[in-house]
């Protein structure tokens, strides 16, 4: 409701998004270097869909692979950070609306956040 706070929130959101993309890109790049250094033949046959191995499909699995410094794990961690960036942005908006005491939009934003969490953390086969 307050123009000033709206603008300030916007600025923080802008920086949050940028930071997320940069952090994600760093992991993807680092993982890419490790991946290319270790694989000369393609790991995946892209012509036929087989689906990624289980450890690259879940958050715990990806963290485990990344900590083990495997190229594909590091890349996947970067991609996970990338997917989490808009989610963080929505979470921040919940706080922003709380600060403005805008209860309607706290609820609206929580619904969106809930759907996003369901997507990222739910079991989708």
């Amino acid at each position: 409701m307050n123009e000033q706070t709206d603008r300030r929130m916007d600025e923080i959101i802008g920086r949050l998004l940028q930071a997320g993309v940069i952090l994600a890109a760093v992991f993807v790049l680092a993982g890419g270097v490790v991946y290319l250094a270790r694989h000369s033949t393609p790991v995946t046959n892209y012509h036929v869909f087989q689906g990624e191995p289980a450890e690259l499909r879940t958050v715990p699995g990806i963290l485990h692979e990344a900590l083990a410094l495997r190229g594909r794990g590091l890349i996947q961690l970067g991609l996970l950070i990338l997917i989490a960036t808009p989610i963080a942005r929505v979470a921040f908006s919940v706080l922003a609306f709380l600060y403005e005491r805008d209860w309607t939009y706290v609820a609206v934003t929580l619904v969106v956040l809930g759907l996003l969490f369901y997507s990222l953390l739910g079991r989708h086969g």
């Binding site: 890419g32 393609p42 790991v43 012509h47 690259l56 991609l79 990338l82 997507s119």
Partner: protein, 283 residues
């Protein structure tokens, strides 16, 4: 024609070529304002023979990257309407979940045909002129209750506007979300259509708000893609980095570019790819 089937490519060559293709897509997308994401799936499936599931996985990831990177700039200008965006985001997010679910139930050929049709619409939409929406004096009940009416910065101060057509906008946003989750695209064109035409928002508000929404919608689809194993790191890596770099370069060059000409060329390319996607689906 698919590289990688006819010619044996090792990992490095494949990565480099995909990265270059993604760079070109991101560059043209940023220059023309059409977004590179929409070209990634056809590029991967037609040129590299990549299965569509891997392609939409990589493409959706690149959509998050470019929209989040670009949104950082848009948001600071103060044009986007966060209440409108967040409320409509309910529709797009649910849509994305539905779209991602549809991938399991539709034949690949059907997905290809739908993709081609959506591409053709994008090419058409980018070529048509955007009529300036006139300011409305009458308040809309739903929009007022949701406190969506706002202002945007003009040269001589803040210009206020009213929001209308909330249910229609909501419905269109649902469709935009379904397309995003099904095809691995940003659906920016449909989002802008919903806000510009159905809800009568000023054009710049529509485009900037749409940009903010694209990343959130894509994240909803990407979460599902990730757990289904559509997102392959070896493929998504060059695509994401290539598109990001390309769009950064495109944004730099933007000042001196002849946008109209580029837009026409890009639309032509998109139209060709669209026909190819439909053709592949019909085979």
């Amino acid at each position: 024609m698919a590289l990688g089937t006819r010619i044996a490519l090792n990992t490095f060559e494949f990565t480099a070529l995909v990265g270059l293709g993604a760079l070109a897509a991101g560059f043209l997308g940023a220059l023309t304002g059409l977004g590179g994401g929409v070209v990634i799936v056809p590029l991967l499936t037609i040129l590299f023979g990549v299965d569509i599931h891997y392609a939409i996985g990589a493409a959706l990831v690149s959509v998050i990257a470019t929209s989040s990177g670009a949104a950082a700039a848009y948001v600071r200008e103060g044009y986007s309407n966060i209440r409108v965006g967040m409320f409509l985001e309910i529709a797009t997010t649910v849509g994305a979940l539905v779209g991602a679910a549809l991938v399991l139930h539709l034949r690949v050929s059907v997905i290809s045909i739908i993709f081609g049709i959506v591409l053709l619409y994008s090419a058409y939409a980018s070529m048509t002129d955007h009529a300036h929406s006139s300011a409305n004096a009458k308040p809309d009940r739903i929009a007022t209750w949701l406190r969506m009416d706002s202002t945007y910065p003009m040269a001589d101060g803040l210009e206020s506007y009213r929001v209308r057509g909330v249910p229609q906008g909501f419905g269109l946003m649902f469709v935009a979300g379904v397309l995003s989750g099904l095809l691995g695209i940003g659906s920016g064109a449909v989002k802008v259509l919903a806000m510009d035409k159905a809800m009568k928002l000023p054009f710049k508000v529509s485009t900037t708000t749409s940009n903010f929404m694209i990343g959130v919608t894509a994240a909803a689809g990407a979460g599902i893609y990730l757990s289904r194993g559509y997102i392959d790191p070896g493929l998504a890596m060059p695509v994401m980095l290539g598109v990001l770099t390309g769009s950064l370069m495109g944004a730099r060059v933007l000042a001196g570019a002849k946008v109209k000409v580029l837009r026409a060329v890009f639309s032509g390319v998109i139209a060709v790819l669209a026909v190819e996607m439909i053709y592949q689906g019909l085979k």
